[in-house]
Amino acid sequence: SQQGEEDPQALSIQEGENATMNCSYKTSINNLQWYRQNSGRGLVHLILIRSNEREKHSGRLRVTLDTSKKSSSLLITASRAADTASYFCAISSRGGSEKLVFGKGTKLTVNP
């Protein structure tokens, strides 16, 4: 399957702590994207990292990509209660159309 698989499935932390979510995949990718979803609707794009990139930052978010291990990680630093959401990685495969194949997500709970 091309599907990305997130790990862990669920994560509960205290405000101020860092949260790390991992994504593994099986195919060659064009790019890998991370999305956040609140309350089962409204997917919000966080970061897109291309296959020739190794790390990207956006505010409190840091994404790494290791194409040799076919894995990516999303780090949220100094977490806030508002970061509580489900986080998905999505794969755009090399040689395929632009469709995204999503993992099943990590449900993050940040406790105040």
Binding site: Q33, G40, R41, G42, L48, S97, E98, F102
Partner: protein, 116 residues
Amino acid sequence: GAGVSQSPSNKVTEKGKDVELRCDPISGHTALYWYRQSLGQGLEFLIYFQGNSAPDKSGLPSDRFSAERTGGSVSTLTIQRTQQEDSAVYLCASSLVSGVSSYEQYFGPGTRLTVT
């Protein structure tokens, strides 16, 4: 509006009826995608439109599902003879696509379809 819009936001229909779901992409975005999200299945790709190219229909689960995109903008996803397993949130997204460059996809709020 600045974002992707979808209508209706909620739809309840009886098994066997046909439904149409609408998506208005962001102006200027050449690519449009349909996905669905259901419990236990996660987010599944359905269909992808890019410009005047033939759509990628590889994700459509059966021939009861079809979609069209008129004038390179608005898209309609049609489900004929709905079944209970079609119950899900149907999400539309749009993006820029330019040559070999890929861009992030912007998602609409979705249509929650319930088949009774």
